[in-house]
Symmetry: C2
Subunit: 231 residues, 2 copies
């Protein structure tokens, strides 16, 4: 096999594992959100704020991918939701088989959720190609990273259903043209939603939560579970 053959086979195997995941998430009407960004854009912090906003109303859980350390899953467990850490060793992304095996080891705990967040390895490039059975991808971009990123990393911004600009509280201290970033995202993906948030001040969190709730309602409407099967 050539390098190209190997890559093609890896992605084909992944796609088939992702399809099985998607089917099982459809059966349980679990909304699955795949969060992708650079290291340090604030994925875990956004999820902590999301848990604060939705706890008691929805059953949330998370799978965290990292090269090393259980730190992110620890933070989310402290926030009060079940979280499973996948340590990839050196690997730069999560794949569908890792998700399937994490769900299996957790038994029913992650299967019976309303929303499962998959916090991918911090990397704006490699995770883009791997379908994890999610309903949609979310790209995060912190205002400290600069306003040229969508055009420099077009793959993820073209594929993400929502782009979330984070750390908006830093805007007075950095050069970041929100309108320019919004234009770049719109030209890569005309149907993408675009949010500006700060987990620190709470800016934009209502809109983020509303998007999640709408998406969950849509998913339930599309694949209703049998009466009595939901708590």
């Amino acid at each position: 096999m050539t390098e190209v053959d190997v890559r093609r086979k890896i992605l084909a195997d992944n796609a088939s594992a992702a399809e099985s995941l998607r089917e099982s998430f459809r059966a349980s009407s679990t909304l699955v959100v795949n969060l992708i960004s650079s290291p340090g854009s604030g994925k875990t912090t956004l999820l902590e704020a999301t848990v604060r906003a939705l706890k008691g109303r929805l059953r949330l859980g998370a799978i965290d991918g990292d090269i090393a350390t259980e730190r992110d899953a620890d933070r989310l467990r402290r926030a009060g939701i079940p979280a499973r850490q996948i340590l990839t060793g050196g690997a730069c992304h999560l794949d569908a088989r890792q998700i399937a095996s994490a769900l299996e080891s957790e038994g029913d705990r992650l299967a019976a959720l309303d929303v499962l967040f998959i916090e991918n390895v911090g990397n704006l490039i490699c995770p883009t190609a791997y379908d994890l059975g999610e309903d949609f991808k979310v790209a995060l971009l912190s205002v400290a990273e600069g306003d040229d990123k969508p055009f420099k990393y077009p793959g993820i911004f073209a594929r993400a259903a929502i782009t979330v600009v984070t750390k908006a509280d830093l805007l007075p201290h950095v050069d970041f043209d929100i309108a320019a970033v919004c234009d770049q995202v719109a030209s890569l993906n005309p149907s993408a939603r675009f949010l500006v948030t700060s987990a620190r001040t709470g800016e934009g969190m209502d809109t983020w939560i509303a998007h999640l709730e709408e998406a969950l309602a849509r998913k339930r409407a599309e694949a209703p579970v049998p009466a009595g099967a939901r708590v």
Copy 2:
């Protein structure tokens, strides 16, 4: 070939191409610095400040790796140095053959430099494994990215001869424990140098420039070029 065989072959081919590059950089006493960080940590901004500090004293040049756009090379050309953009398409890192071919297309322009900066694709993971014939790697970490990154991305911080903390001007506005980051880096790589910088205020730039000049002096002492061959 299995996936593991393919990966082993790719790295072996890369190592041999990197060795040829290293030999030619030794012959010209060109110091080669491979800059690796997340997207938006400030690699190009650090290089712009470096050019301002060293222009007229040293012949500098750059090779910029990006998924898309010529933006970084354009910025460095505007700063006044020759810069060659490598567009990787989707690839998440530069490899030694791309560097060799960029040098070839530039003819003598990049070959006769005192210092060649290679600004790798914005990615804290994948570029780590690819030797580009450099003298050393530099890892950049912006204070906005959080102080848990060395332990979460140990590969690059273990291999980088210098870790440069950037955007120190944002310290009053973010949670970032410099001592904790310094300890993490020291435990991963006891001989690494650790700098705190701000391209905006100039903090730490003197030390960065001094490190580059020392490294260049060491390289020239190790492989002196024939008398008269240097301008």
